[in-house]
């Protein structure tokens, strides 16, 4: 199944979805267009700190941000009545983070009828040296007519 392109209104759709979700709003996610993909931003606040002595982003906050980006990247491509639910996320932390915004890019490996598999890289200073990378599995729930074999 070919990966559908970003819809024309993907940025406004994402903004509306973020506003409707307390969790996404808490992460302060903003999407902006960049070449052929979307660039996601975690808007840093003190709430996102893990250990106040280290002053790094909380590992779980990074993981939920990358997961949220994956969900939003699907939402930006499918009909509005399609539900996207997280199934599993596996994050590797390559380097320490700073108390700053984090940027992320999503790569969709497969978007099927019922499941999607994605990778999401998060970085702060340099995209080439990401802070973390996540492998994410999502359950796609389509209206029953579209779910027929």
């Amino acid at each position: 199944m070919a990966i559908p392109p970003l819809l024309d209104d993907s940025v406004t759709r994402i903004a509306a979805r973020v506003e409707a979700s307390q969790m996404f709003s808490w992460l302060g996610i903003v999407a902006t267009p960049a070449d052929d993909h979307l660039l996601y931003r975690l808007s840093f606040t003190e709430d996102h700190i893990g250990n106040p002595v280290l002053r790094a982003l909380h590992g779980g906050v990074i993981s939920s941000f990358l997961e949220a980006c994956a969900q939003l990247d699907i939402i930006a491509r499918v009909e509005k009545d399609v539900q996207v639910q997280p199934v599993s996320i596996h994050t590797s932390y390559f380097t320490s983070s700073r108390p700053q915004d984090m940027l992320a890019k999503v790569t969709i490996r497969r978007l099927g009828r019922r499941l999607a598999f994605l990778e999401c890289d998060g970085w702060q200073r340099d995209q080439a040296t990401p802070v973390a990378r996540a492998a994410i599995g999502l359950r796609i729930i389509r209206p029953s007519s579209a779910d027929a074999p």
Binding site: S63, F65, S88
Partner: protein, 161 residues
């Protein structure tokens, strides 16, 4: 300690951990902005084991349900606390790897229980797992596994990945 009567303690916890605990509880229950918001309350500490109860309010919902990301955040922290129960002194910790699965979902304001186990620490890498359960329904909400680097600051830079 104010609520110590509600916490169970396993055998063999080091006296140092008991000293660390007060600071840790204060940090989790009243100092840390996020965990204060989640109303975390310690219920059990053993060697390699930590449990907390909490109620996630409307601040972290996505629709009617609590977003799974909350459990990723919570379990990451509680798994790191389970590592501390095996330490002789408080050390900084960094998550190396974190996997969360979502077999269930919790409604806002559900009473939840989160338990973490630190299975082993080898060469300053701690291996842990954790789970979140809805206390009313018994439903398994989230499962997690994580590894942590113990002592992130004390090591010379050359030894880091």
């Amino acid at each position: 300690m104010s609520r110590s009567s509600e916490i169970s303690f396993g055998e063999g916890l080091s006296p140092n951990f008991m000293k660390m605990l007060e600071g840790l509880r204060h940090f989790v229950e009243s100092e840390h902005i996020l965990f204060k918001k989640l109303g975390l309350q310690a219920t059990l500490f053993g060697v390699g084991e930590a449990s907390f109860d909490l109620t996630a309010d409307n601040s972290f919902t996505d629709g009617d349900l609590i977003h799974g990301g909350v459990f990723t955040i919570l379990l990451d922290t509680i798994m790191s606390i389970s590592v501390m129960t095996r330490l002789e002194a408080m050390q900084t910790m960094a998550t190396i790897n974190l996997k969360t699965d979502y077999p269930g979902a919790a409604k806002a304001n559900a009473r939840l229980s989160c338990t973490a186990i630190c299975h082993a620490i080898r060469d300053d890498v701690a291996f842990t797992s954790g789970r979140a359960i809805d206390k009313q329904t018994g439903e398994l909400i989230a499962l997690a596994e994580a590894t942590f680097m113990v002592g992130t600051r004390s090591k010379p830079k050359a030894s880091r990945i």
